[in-house]
């Protein structure tokens, strides 16, 4: 059993069955052949007995023609006594190799048939079918007969006297065991040859089986490697046979369709998906099979996890040596991210284009507003210089204020568009220098109300930002402070490192803001009460500040203890260089600007 199991393991079942069938065929063939040989041997034995019988009769005829019994003895011719005439059977044995016997009646009177003790079987009697043929039917007998317990090929002829009465018989025969010894020897030889052939055949089968097993193992190793390689590739890979059944796929493909390899392999699209979808897939596969080369096409597919992905299919028919398609292979390349990047890039480009368009529109608008403002701006002071009526003077002043407001609005709107159109390139800039530059530009406005401004930003402090936008940020904050600080009041600009950030504050001692104003103050066109009637403001300053701070990835907020208690504007920026964050306030070097 163990051997069978081992054989079954090492040699495949079909090979084993083939070997057994060959063995059975050989045995049956052998048997049939030996049967033929046996039959031929029997035929020859019988023929030999016929010849022996003829020789026996010839010997008899040489000694006389007639037989008769006289005085309890059988006489041939006139005098030749056959009783104990063993020389005659012996002569036959010498000539033909057959044993011979002369019967008187049914009793052996001369013979070389031996009894078990090795003595001549004189006196023993004839029995069986030969007896019946000779003595009952009076005819000769040919065939097999049992003589003294041993089977013989025999021939019996009756001996008749002159009256034709059967008075005895002649017997020739050969012991089957002796005669068939030759046949048995041939049988053994053929058996041996067959055995050797069978052994060689089995050996060949075993060698073939082992070789096959080795090849199978090598193929298995190769397939394992191939599967491992495919499973490592993140793109779904699959192949189908000519019936459209999946016969190979990698892990990425399994996750893509949400089915295990067991569920996939051996199944077609019709087993796995809705009929409509399966039909579509099948038609596409047919197109691939009909077309030469590798087919590449873009598509959108739903993954098993519910996500819809943009993919590129690469498919090709697998053909045999005659060019007949035996299936197809396919790779799915996920380009969702690439698409998203392209889409994002297109969106950004469109946004940029849009921003550029708005900016250019604003520039044109600004120019077209400033051009007619120029004569107004230029001529109004000349007119006022020539007017002495206080009423007209007042009207002209109002006109001047309106012109100022239009000009301010145009400038601020342009600022807002420009800072919103594209994010600035953030580089290390000196915060103190940006504040200083703004202070320089805002000096006249601050001086008008006698406001003192103190720039307490450490000169070495650098932030990541756009110098131009940071200056604009300070300008707008200072413009507010100049407007709302107390008459002859004070504005303090300071900065404090907080982790990776810098918190900047612009503090005034002016009218302050209530809770509602604090939340709305950064909205476009919002003016706190006191400013609503101020024709020189546009309500865009803090909205510009908010955009600039957002461009710098910072936060902007305002605090005020309440009306009349001043306002502090805070904003955060990223420190340049990201040095070790220094806890607590930085050492600030006070620098005051007398405006």
């Amino acid at each position: 059993m163990k051997f069978l199991n081992a054989a079954r393991d090492k040699i495949s079942i079909p090979l084993l069955i083939s070997a057994l069938m060959v063995a059975v065929v050989m045995i049956v063939g052998n048997h049939l052949m030996l049967d033929q040989i046996h039959e031929e041997a029997v035929r020859q034995a019988n023929r030999q007995q016929e010849n022996s019988m003829m020789a026996f009769w010839e010997q008899m005829n040489r000694r006389g023609r007639n037989f008769h019994i006289e005085g309890g003895r059988m006489i041939l011719g006139d005098y030749y006594v056959l009783n104990d005439a063993n020389e005659l059977p012996d002569k036959i044995f010498c000539i033909t190799g057959s044993r011979a016997t002369i019967f008187m009646g049914d009793t052996r009177i001369a013979t070389n048939v031996l009894k078990e003790d090795g003595t001549r079987a004189i006196g023993t009697r004839l029995t069986g079918p030969a007896y019946d043929a000779i003595f009952k039917d009076g005819i000769r007998y040919r065939g097999e007969a049992n003589i003294l317990g041993a089977p013989y090929f025999t021939a019996y002829d009756p001996i008749r006297d002159l009256n034709g009465k059967v008075i005895g018989a002649l017997f020739v025969g050969v012991k089957q065991s002796e005669y068939l010894a030759r046949y048995d020897r041939i049988n053994v030889k053929i058996g041996a040859v067959n055995g050797v052939l069978a052994a060689i055949f089995v050996l060949c089968v075993v060698i073939l089986g082992l070789n096959r097993k080795r090849s199978e193992n090598a193929i298995k190793r190769q397939l394992n490697f191939q599967q491992q390689l495919m499973d490592t590739i993140p793109s779904p890979i699959f192949s189908k046979d000519e019936q459209g059944r999946y016969n190979l796929c990698n892990k990425a493909f399994q996750s893509y369709v949400g089915l295990s390899s067991e569920q996939l392999l051996g199944h077609s699209v019709f087993d796995l998906w809705e009929p409509e979808l399966a039909r579509k897939y099948h038609e596409m596969d047919q197109k691939i099979i009909d077309a030469p080369g590798i087919q590449v096409y873009e598509s959108q597919v739903g993954y098993a996890d519910g996500s819809v992905r943009d993919v590129i299919f690469h498919k090709a028919a697998v053909r045999d040596d005659n060019g007949v398609a035996r299936g197809l292979v396919g790779v799915i390349l996920d380009i969702t991210e690439r698409k998203a990047v392209e889409q994002e890039s297109r969106r950004l480009e469109a946004q940029k284009h849009h921003s550029r368009m708005i900016e250019s529109l604003m520039v044109q608008l600004n120019h077209d507003l400033n051009t007619p403002l120029t004569p107004l701006f230029a001529l109004m002071p000349l007119i006022r210089a020539k007017v002495s009526d206080p009423g007209v003077e007042r009207m002209l002043e109002i006109c001047q204020q309106c012109v100022n407001q239009i000009q301010g609005l145009a400038g601020k709107a342009l600022d807002l568009v420009r800072i919103s159109s594209s994010p600035p390139r953030l580089i290390p800039v000196s915060l103190c220098a940006a504040a200083e530059s703004a202070l320089g530009e805002m000096a006249p406005a601050l001086a008008q109300r006698g406001v003192i401004c103190c720039n307490a930003i450490p000169p070495e402090l650098q932030v990541r930002g756009s110098a131009e936008q940071l200056t604009l940020l300070f300008k707008n904050l200072l413009s507010n402070a100049a407007r709302y600080a107390a008459q002859n009041g004070k504005v303090i600009i300071s900065a404090e490192r907080k982790g990776a950030e810098v918190e900047v504050s612009v503090q005034d001692d002016g009218i302050g803001l209530d809770q509602e104003q604090l939340t709305r103050v950064f909205d476009e066109f919002y003016k706190a009460d006191a400013a609503r009637h101020d024709l020189n403001t546009q309500g865009l300053g803090l909205a510009i500040c908010r955009r600039i701070v957002a461009n710098h990835e910072g936060r902007l907020w305002a605090t005020s203890p309440g009306a009349g208690s001043g306002t502090t504007m805070f904003f955060t920026l990223k420190q340049a260089g990201q040095q070790e964050p220094a806890g607590g306030p930085v050492q600030i070097q006070e620098e005051s600007h007398q405006i």
Partner: protein, 130 residues
Amino acid sequence: MNRRVMIVDDNEYVRASVDIICESAQLELASASGGPECLEQLEAGFRGVILMDIMMPDMDGWDTIREIVDRGLYPGNVIVMLTGMGEPDSKMEGLQEYVSDYMTKPFSPDELLDSVEYYLTLLNAPADHE
């Protein structure tokens, strides 16, 4: 003493305003509605302070300056650009050295006169030394 000023602007009212301001300051004003007229007057011998608008149809301020320089009409003149905020400056490359100052529109009479008087003084200065 050279007290000549040329305003180059496509807007008629801007030109008229500058005219009025200059007249009040006893300046000699030449007026050009665009680059070609400006070049004509320079070819005709104008030398002085040129107030040049940037954004003009067909031939803008920068194109005009390039033409002035190319035709060799620049010497003896001072150019002050009249500009609005954020106007395109991509064309100023290589021409900045011919621009002495920028004045943002709208401007007050004082701003204009301060600037013009200053550059006229500069223009007249070498002649004084001669």
